[in-house]
Symmetry: C2
Subunit: 335 residues, 2 copies
């Protein structure tokens, strides 16, 4: 592997996958890292924990619906929650650019505190480094988290079976579009807010399904399309979606059409994808729909046995198309 | 608090302390964060864990004796080890600058893998973000770690008593001087290597002292002087050092003299400070001295009751001077 890092390497799609597998996994290979999930499963004295980290470089630092602090807390809470873990504690490591306004830093810390409180978790430890003017773009933050695994569930992509149902907890593509609009280089008069939110309430509700809950993920960078491709690859089966069942708010859909972007590839920061046993789909929808964050939850597709695992979208006109992982990076620094 | 971030805010001394207390603790206050240690103590289902994070922005990325990858792994292992915890798992979050050479990234990942293996710990999860050219300086990495607390010890600065002895595991100031020399803007012909090393072996040995082991720290940014001021403040007692007992390698001392820097303020990345009960000092020295990393361990001072907690250095000429925390930042981006 020669060459240099490109923006696509950080976009969460095909290039990211290649970098992670070809370089990081190749060098750091160990049984904990190998599943390449968003969190690792660690056993401490018999206590089963999830452990995760994410770096945040979103630009701008504030956007409609949130800021980098809230995003970082929610993102780490969500990486734990979708592994069926109850978040216990977070850490935050800041890289600050010399000259960054203290009042802005205070507002970001405050918004982290609020998000942490909403998720019933504490920022337990932190670190701050400062680099010279021009060596960073204001502020980057890396949050890590540990959570306690819910013993009722056994979430594993290899437990996904043909016939299992695929659900999403609400409208997609809101975060990515909100951040793009916030950058102000588009002349669109739309009022889209990021969906940044902590999903621990939704995931805890679904854990009541026990072993009928197979797998969960939050479709962030690379959007729903990329997450479902990871599902298909991991399960060794095809994911068949019904296009008209996928919830997309009207203004978000309009923005995507104007921008020529497929909402399936746009980042979400407060949405959940869940795979459940066929008989559990109605109960799962009821559990999600009973919570405000799951009010627009929908059954969007199912798993089908297939020799070549794919993500297929059935269109309302009777056709179907293949939806690949994200290639390139249409929206750099979205989180 | 108005104004902007300065390089001193990231130096680990007085300004860092003010930023952490006046901004981060003020906004994020919670019982886990409040002790402001380098790691937080978290209970998971009755299992007692230490949880820590550190961001690394060292410049240059490679220096005599190590690189940013090794430094990040050892630093996180050490933050766990000095809390009496056996490292269980690490995570790594990368912020990469577009255009960063893949071969250089591979070498850094390889060096993280080697350091992790040496410390019997795995990098269990990670994340990669990419920012545009000019929005970072090559690569920043944030490592986090969890460790299992050793039940034999109860390490707490409030258990430090007058008469307790202060030990250091070897020569100080090597990392900071090595990085300064590596920057190449000094015309010194000295061959100083960073002391970057994992301290879990030394700390595990000292844990055999049980409750006679009071407190441990690794004196990184801000050097031994800053760490001992935190000790004095936390214990509410004065630390009295014997200057000639503090180990400093001859070439390091020479470099410090030429540069006009006090070695007490220069960062270490593989040294341990321990406070032990008076009767345990000889045993502690023997335990450290039996291990290669502790071959130059020394008893450097003791704790004295005092109304105003200070760090005092008794000089060989019969006088004594007050050693304050680091003020300003003589060596930006040392780790």
């Amino acid at each position: 592997m020669t060459g240099v890092i490109t923006l696509a390497d950080g976009a969460g799609g095909k290039a990211s996958r290649k970098l992670v597998e070809g370089l990081f996994l190749a060098e750091l290979r160990n049984p904990l890292l190998e599943p390449l999930g968003d969190a690792a499963l660690v056993s401490a004295n018999g206590t089963r924990l999830a452990f995760t980290t994410d770096s945040y470089v979103v630009r701008p630092l504030r956007f409609p619906g949130g800021d980098i602090g809230e995003l970082a807390v929610n993102g780490t809470v969500n990486d734990l929650a979708v592994f069926g873990a109850i978040p216990l504690a977070l850490t935050a490591g800041f890289v600050l650019e010399e000259g960054f306004p203290l009042e802005e830093l205070r507002a970001i810390a405050r918004s982290m505190a609020r998000a942490a409180q909403d998720a019933s978790v504490s920022v337990a430890a932190g670190d701050t480094k400062v680099v010279e003017r021009g060596a960073a773009d204001g502020l980057y933050v890396t949050t890590s988290g540990i959570g306690l695994l819910d013993p009722r569930v056994e979430l594993d992509v290899t437990r996904v079976r043909p016939g299992d149902r695929v659900l999403v907890s609400g409208g997609i593509a809101e975060h990515g579009i909100a951040v793009m609009l916030a950058r102000g280089n588009l002349e669109l008069e739309l009022d889209v807010e990021s969906d940044t939110a902590a999903l621990h309430g939704l995931t805890a509700a679904l854990c009541a399904l026990g072993r009928e809950l197979r797998w969960m993920r939050d479709p962030t960078r690379g959007g729903l399309a990329t997450t479902l491709n990871e599902l298909a690859g991991g399960a060794g089966a095809t994911v068949v979606l019904r296009e008209e069942a996928i919830p997309v708010r009207e203004d978000v859909r309009a923005a995507c059409e104007i921008l020529g972007i497929d909402p399936l590839y746009v980042a979400n920061e407060g949405k959940l994808v869940a795979v459940v046993a066929p008989d559990a789909a109605d109960r799962a929808l009821a559990l999600l729909g009973a919570l405000p964050l799951g009010a627009d939850a929908a059954l969007i597709g199912e798993i089908r046995a297939d020799d070549i695992p794919l993500v297929l979208v059935d269109t309302p006109f009777g056709g179907s198309r293949i939806v690949d992982m994200l290639v390139g990076d249409p929206l750099p620094r979205i989180c």
